[in-house]
Symmetry: C2
Subunit: 263 residues, 2 copies
DNA sequence: TCAATAGTGTCTTTCAGACACTATAAA
DNA sequence: TTTATAGTGTCTGAAAGACACTATTGA
């Protein structure tokens, strides 16, 4: 029987002013079966591939849900990460090779319904990546990893576990949130025209956006220092357009008004 | 120095006993220790008590965090509920006696940092209740259950576990969301004046709202059938005001524009 | 020249916020 | 009559959406 010893002094500073009894209690604590859960992280990784919104899926090679397509997530191994964010970043890294991308938590669901193995809890994240940045990597078990257009998932149905529901939730979040944020900036090339950015919005929403109205949004982004002109111009068909690049920003830009025609 | 010992015994049955049958696999599945988590639900229950935004806390009577104030949540017992929502409603019911109130998920956090007993995951909900509807009930272990003004929690610090962070997150969500929704309707008396509704917003935000501007929002709620006139008038000081009541609605009303002076 | 796209300007509508004005109660 | 509050109307400013107009490239 193997034992892993975790040094408790690495825990947070709040612990320091607790009673000795408390620390003692924790040291001797052994969880019961009934309050231990199977816990998964399920990232819904979106990209825009050839103008179409895609989501990253893996085809499971083992039970349960063998051969079904699934989100590239799964159980969190307590021994491999210190917290949720770290665990998520490990999963993102292992499938996409990216050590950094935009992500946000979407929801957590749990219960008996989601996994044949019993009561389980899943936390769903949405992640946005640039298609050209990603090099798909089969994982250790050799599971196929592939992009799939979000509107063609019915051809793969049923997806593993509760994953179709998770994708629906992440997609709803994404579609809602881009009506008042600049999130698609994380999915276009690092140097882009206003047209390319608008087409990213359109790919996600599945509707056309008035060119001139969108142009004003782009102007707001420039005025707020979210994007800046590179000075170079595109050489597509038609009049050359200014090429922009995004300025690094922690949080997405939030516009003061939503687009109303897409609600 | 205290040590926490985590049992890492691997279950060989999972690894070796491969079967082609999904159901059979699940039936024979036994989780490993390393992917089982301590999982908690932590509801941040808000109310407006005498014009002040309060949050419901319990004083823990047992280790860990003995004597500290904590959110009225805790471990989810797999045997007592079929899913997260059911588990949450049980917790809400047991502390407030309410079988129905508005709630929404705020976030899930997890890791070693939150609980001395080891890797744990908590899902935080925000719940809104009418002060007059709640009858506080001490739980089985006789823990004191009390309302506390949100801006006086420093007097109780430190709160148990990661709960101060959870309250901060729920409060931020609430304050942000009421700038574009009618959520405070869930916290005023069932029959209310526009003034009382406005004061609920002010209690939550901690700032004054222009009376006339807010009046227009109330008119929008009437126009959209979210609230309706009762026909009766208030008998407070000053000119009597129309009394309204809320029409039952599943989702909160979302205004097309946010209040801008509170951002 | 023509097609295609970029970029700008104008008009209307909506709503927030500021403020003035009137209305209705109690003391 | 005074005070307190309710309710309405007017004005300004911001931004969306519709649409027209000009600008710049390649074919």
């Amino acid at each position: 029987m193997n034992k892993t010893v975790i040094n408790e002094t690495t825990n947070n500073k709040n612990m320091s002013n607790k009673t000795n009894n408390d620390a003692e209690f924790c040291a001797n604590y052994t969880p019961n079966d009934y309050d231990q859960m199977l816990f998964s992280l399920d990232p819904v990784i979106f990209t825009i591939k050839e103008g179409v919104l895609n989501v990253l899926l893996v085809q499971r090679q083992s039970d349960p849900c063998k051969n079904q397509w699934a989100l590239p997530g799964g159980r969190v191994d307590k021994l491999k990460s210190d917290d949720l964010i770290q665990a998520l970043q490990q999963k993102l890294m292992s499938k996409t090779g990216l050590d950094h991308c935009y992500f946000e938590q979407v929801l957590t669901d749990g219960g008996l319904k989601m996994d044949g193995r019993g009561w389980s809890v899943s936390t769903v994240y949405m992640a946005l990546v640039r298609y050209s940045d990603v090099v798909l990597e089969e994982n250790q078990t050799g599971e196929p990893v592939q992009w799939h257009p979000v509107d063609q998932l019915t051809a793969l149905e049923p997806l593993a576990f509760w994953h179709q529901t998770f994708i629906d939730a992440a997609l709803a979040r994404l579609r809602d949130k881009i009506t008042y944020t600049d999130l698609p900036i994380n999915m276009v090339d690092k140097v882009f025209t206003v047209r390319q950015l608008r087409m990213a919005y359109e790919s996600i929403l599945g509707v056309e956006i008035t060119r001139q109205a969108f142009s004003k949004r782009a102007n707001q982004l420039t005025k707020n220092g979210v994007i800046i002109e590179t000075g170079n111009m595109s050489d597509d068909v038609g009049r050359p357009a200014m090429l922009y690049k995004a300025v690094k920003h922690e949080k997405p830009h939030v516009f003061s008004y939503s687009m109303t025609k897409v609600n």
